[in-house]
Symmetry: C2
Subunit: 200 residues, 2 copies
DNA sequence: AGCACTTGTGAACAAACGTTCATTTAATTA
DNA sequence: TAATTAAATGAACGTTTGTTCACAAGTGCT
């Protein structure tokens, strides 16, 4: 009973990952049972243990995969040297990457507290690496005078919180298109760091 | 065994509320058991039911109390008519109010999903009312030209996410004083909404 | 056809969960 | 001091939890 159709459909492990991401995102890791996840996939709870050692492992795998994909995708994007352009590139990248991965983002951002050691340390470092990418852009702009950012670390946390907050209220089919929302946030990010006396 | 000392010390219900807020904030509602809360207070789990009907009731009471305190405190603060001044007043109020209530803020912001009906609706309306306060300030400033904010609703969500995000990283005794952090965020909020061509 | 392997079932386990309750204890009132 | 009441105990309940296991079923290789 290994496979039903040749190529059609993802395998069980992938479907379980997606089901888990959706349920964790909506209800939180602790509120979701292995039976809930299994039911969504259409299998018994025991069968999940053919693919994941423990529930905690499933969460850690979900979060680590997401953070690694995020970092890899940003590294592919060759960020411009100019700080203002780099900031816009990062902002657009961040919003676009998160647009179709709302569940993963939610989990990666809210369930750090559900990770046990050493999973926590490993994934926290990935998250920190991503924030450092933005921080370096801001720090460079602050040095060259392209940005007003007396505390790049604070500005980084503020911007990331602002950008990631979109996933809390964005719903598909809403009044504004994803592109319109993206432009609005890019504009706010740019203005928040604009040096006194000029905007763009 | 009703009371130990005359006036000294809060009563058991209050201590349980605070313990619950701390544990819910750190581990999440679903991950905390009534026994955990009771242990923190130094009583048996059953004794909690002399003060709260259910665990869900305890959470709802925590969140509703917090939101009502927040709204009441803002209504006491007489916001200036001038949009720019009102924005600064709101920003400072928000950050100060949240400074000493990190646990409550965390719970009120992250555990909406743990509320069952009708608790969810009731508390969601309180939260919405608070956001409307900021939205009206921004909308007025957008009309008068004091702000650049083509979509006041979006700007509201962006600013609230940015401000509330502080609770995710702020730790007492850190490098920057609360006042310094407050000033930095006020500055970023003002700049994010500054009309093209001028800053203050 | 036969073997090894992967993936599923479904019952079972011990532990932990929210909640209830008969009972005791301490403080308050009369 | 006796009666009343509020609050705590600690055992017990039925349910759900994560996880395990003996077993069956389908697949690919030789």
């Amino acid at each position: 009973m290994a496979r039903l159709a040749g190529v059609t459909g993802k395998d069980t492990a992938d479907r379980a990952r997606r089901a888990a991401a959706e349920l964790f995102a909506r209800h939180g890791y602790a509120a979701v049972s292995m039976r809930d996840i299994a039911a969504e996939v259409g299998i018994g709870a025991g069968a999940l243990y053919n693919h994941f050692a423990t529930k905690q492992d499933l969460l850690a795998e979900l979060m680590e995969d997401h953070m690694k994909r995020l970092l890899a995708a940003w590294e592919e994007e060759s960020a411009p040297d100019d700080p203002a352009e780099a900031l816009e590139a990062f902002t657009r990248f961040h919003m676009r990457f998160h647009r179709n991965r709302q569940d993963d983002v939610h989990v990666a951002y809210m369930e750090l507290r559900s990770l046990e050691q050493p999973n926590f340390h490993r994934i926290e470092r990935l998250r920190s690496a991503y924030e450092t990418e933005l921080e370096q852009i801001i720090a460079k702009g602050a040095e060259t005078g392209a940005f007003h950012a007396p505390e790049p670390k604070i500005a980084t946390m503020a911007l990331i919180a602002m950008l990631t907050g979109v996933t809390n209220w964005y719903r598909q089919g809403g009044r504004l298109s994803p592109n319109a929302i993206e432009d609005l946030y890019v504009d706010m990010a740019r203005r928040a760091l604009a040096p006194t006396g000029g905007t763009a």
